[in-house]
Symmetry: C2
Subunit: 230 residues, 2 copies
Amino acid sequence: TYRSMSQPTIITVAITGSLPKKADNRAVPITVAEQIESTHEAFEAGASLVHCHVRNDDETPSSDPEKFARLMEGVRKHCPGMIVQFSTGGRSGNGRERGGMLSLKPDMASLSTGSVNFPTRVYENAPDLVDWLAEEMLRYGVKPEIEAFDLSMIFQAATMTKDGRIAGPLHVQFVMGVKNAMPADRDSFAFFAKTLNRLAPDATFTGAGIGRHQTTLIDWSLEEGGHCRT
Amino acid sequence: TYRSMSQPTIITVAITGSLPKKADNRAVPITVAEQIESTHEAFEAGASLVHCHVRNDDETPSSDPEKFARLMEGVRKHCPGMIVQFSTGGRSGNGRERGGMLSLKPDMASLSTGSVNFPTRVYENAPDLVDWLAEEMLRYGVKPEIEAFDLSMIFQAATMTKDGRIAGPLHVQFVMGVKNAMPADRDSFAFFAKTLNRLAPDATFTGAGIGRHQTTLIDWSLEEGGHCRT
Ligand SMILES: [Zn+2]
Ligand SMILES: [Zn+2]
Ligand SMILES: [Zn+2]
Ligand SMILES: [Zn+2]
């Protein structure tokens, strides 16, 4: 459903992406301790959901379940009630490695329901991997946030909800501004929201813009009745 | 532009897909001689463009330039004025193999400007491969038919036309009904046509529906002012 004015807006903080390093930005939290502290600051500033990536000691993306476990433990202790969302994004590992931490039962996890081009490569989410990640989320009671990099991923998420591969109601993030995938386009954003509402009337959505498109997508998301993400 | 009523509709025939074999359908033309005869029949029935895949002797998909050369020679001889379009689709080979026959200078060739999920795999068109195929088409004067399996591919094609990687005017085929990619959806089809017209006002388009969606997409394409394909 389109969010009614009385429902609270969920503010998401993505404390650490999968790529920026200390050399790019001193403020990027890399260690689990830094990530917990950074999440706590965002929590006190009003964020209610944290989107988590973890890193190896050399700052490269990691999918180590042990790091995810310590991060979740710290967030739950310091930020009571905050929603913990793990990334199953493709930079942190190959194939099923990407979902090795779902058994930790975070509140949510990201799930891309298709493949798309990224700036220099194919972001591969083969059908059998998507199905397996969805299955793990069902098994461990993890609510997926669908990362929709293109229109077909919204259709695929709705189909998977209808046939029971995903537990509803659906929550979808429209991601725009990634080079070679969907650019930040106002008309397309409105069409995505309208289509999601047609296919899954009880679904919620949010918008995520990459880089300079971040605030634009927050505006569009609020205008169309979605949640927002910082 | 939307096709005006006075412009002729181009009827495309896809004589041989990349997959069906004689065991599935006795009528599928496999050898180059069979393909030429089949194209000739379609030409006499009014088809003006032929979309070509070639096959190995064991009926598996091929990207052999020699076969493409013989097919083009036969079509040009038997079907004067017919537009010859080669497929650079992914089943016929890996990477640059897929464009090895562009130097034969067919009138057109297919070009997917992004990646997407197919029924059992990722249809991979990595950014550097897309750029290379487009470059070869520019070099040999081959007009691309953009195979748009999702919305972002329309944006990508428009961007590539604006920055000179593709020679305009753009011609795009909206492909729907492939499992795990875009389903056949009327509203999305209209949005694709509207978006293409907004991004590239001089572009033309056609619709291709897979399997049972074939006639549906022809209807939608004509309704929205596009060309058709059989
Ligand atoms: Zn604290
Ligand atoms: Zn992420
Ligand atoms: Zn003949
Ligand atoms: Zn084809």
